[in-house]
């Protein structure tokens, strides 16, 4: 059975989950809706190639399917799948960290795009900022990198980050503060004045 994109668009996440439990083909609606967002998230966290990110996402979606009955309607579906994808990504990242430290991955220019406030900056400056942001993020401990990516690159609210990482909102706030300080310190050491507010 083929579910058309139009039919998928009309379904909310909760409705798509309900329909998928009755007819597996509706599960494609959920995959198609979140594919781009999640692949970008996986690549931001684990620094893997597009192909590897797709593999991670595929494994994560099989887990999402297996646990679909566990989905709590009180939670946002996006937070729940981000949680599963996040865990899957971290597990791959840890393995990569142990076995392939020297591997280099070609990054997309827009993978670490900062905020809209930089849209008027010239192209070279933007690119330099992206590269520096990427460098700095890579030097941060994974727990700091994760909260910064979720907050500033994925644009999530504290409650959503709390649901993804399964930590209290207060801890999210503290972690973001510490991560920002650590980010600023590394950035300042690397290129003084580069990220200073105008």
């Amino acid at each position: 059975m083929y579910v058309s994109k139009e039919e998928c668009r009309e379904l909310s996440d909760a409705e798509a989950v309900e329909k998928a439990l009755l007819q597996v083909d509706y599960f494609a609606c959920l995959y198609n809706k979140y594919e781009v967002l999640l692949i970008r998230y996986i690549r931001r966290i684990a620094l893997v190639s597009s192909e590897e990110a797709e593999d991670i996402l595929q494994d994560a979606f099989i887990k999402i399917w297996s646990n679909l009955n566990e989905f709590d309607q009180h939670l946002k579906f996006s937070s729940w799948i981000y949680r599963i994808v996040h865990n899957e990504t971290l597990s791959v990242w840890r393995k990569k960290k142990s076995y392939g430290k020297d591997r280099q991955v070609q990054l997309d220019d827009n993978l670490f795009e900062i905020g809209a406030e930089d849209s008027d900056a010239d192209g070279t400056m933007r690119e330099q900022k992206h590269l520096l942001a990427h460098d700095v993020l890579e030097q941060l401990p994974i727990k700091y990198k994760t909260v910064l990516v979720l907050k500033f690159l994925e644009g999530m609210h504290y409650d959503e980050i709390s649901d993804v990482l399964k930590i209290p909102e207060g801890t999210v706030a503290t972690r973001i503060n510490r991560a920002k300080k650590a980010f600023e310190k590394i950035a300042a050491d690397q290129q003084p004045g580069f990220f200073e507010k105008e």
Partner: protein, 243 residues
């Protein structure tokens, strides 16, 4: 090839089924059950600790070189402290593992579990459950040394000036006491002896005394107090009031 189609094909090909809903319901139920058991047994342990505190003779701090804390610990079987800690930890970890447990900080989880155990434990203690539980344990678990047993041991040291038992026969200035090892003592007292107001020196009264052993079967009392704690004293007063 469309990635979503690949996933759907894989699910169909490998016959991957979503784990049934009852599986997750069972998991949630077990987590909450563990939490409930943790809080309930923690509460029972706390109530016995309260009972031990109630049974402690803090007046002894003036006679023995022990602090109040040491006196309570001397009387309290450690199993209850261990039980309180272990079951409180079970409750805390179960709460944390519940669906929304991660939303609360460890401090809140500890506070909530401890508060609930303290509240239930106090109610259990007030209802007399702690004494019942403790005596049931003492009667049925051979290796367990109960609070009353420990208390009797503490008060069966005439050479250290501590003696207890039941009054068998009372006369002015002295009475015959049968201690908890069924040994008879002649106890002397005078106007300088402190006798707790609730104590009536008559046959059948259980007392504990601080004083001096004068020989193998004679004891001079300096203080005479009722054997039981506050609750027992109240019961005795009520009994006398009715008579």
């Amino acid at each position: 090839m469309d990635k979503s189609k690949e996933i759907i094909d894989k699910i169909k090909r490998d016959h991957i089924q979503p784990r049934p809903r009852w599986h997750f319901l069972l998991k949630d139920t077990l987590i909450w059950l563990a939490c409930g058991i943790g809080i309930f047994i923690g509460a029972a342990a706390f109530s016995v600790i309260l009972f031990a505190i109630q049974q402690t003779d803090f007046e002894l701090t003036t006679h023995l070189s022990h602090s109040r804390f040491e006196l309570v610990l001397g009387l309290l079987p450690f199993i209850w402290i261990i039980a309180l800690i272990v079951f409180l930890l079970i409750a805390i970890f179960s709460l944390q593992k519940s669906r929304s447990g991660y939303k609360f900080s460890w401090l809140r989880l500890v506070g909530f579990s401890a508060l609930l155990s303290i509240l239930l434990g106090t109610l259990f203690f007030i209802g007399g459950g702690a004494q019942w539980l403790e005596s049931t344990f003492a009667a049925n678990v051979s290796v367990y040394e109960g609070i009353q047993e420990k208390k009797q041991k503490m008060w069966m040291s005439p050479e250290a000036g501590l003696l207890s038992g039941m009054v068998e026969e009372a006369n002015p200035g002295q009475f015959v006491l049968v201690d908890f090892e069924q040994k008879k003592w002649t106890v002397a007292y005078d106007s300088s002896t402190f006798i707790a107001p609730v104590v009536v020196l008559e046959a059948g009264e259980q007392v504990k005394m601080v004083g001096k052993q004068t020989d193998n079967s004679h004891f001079t009392a300096e203080e005479i107090r009722p054997w039981g704690g506050r609750a027992n004293r109240q019961k005795m007063q009520d009994r006398r009031g009715k008579n």
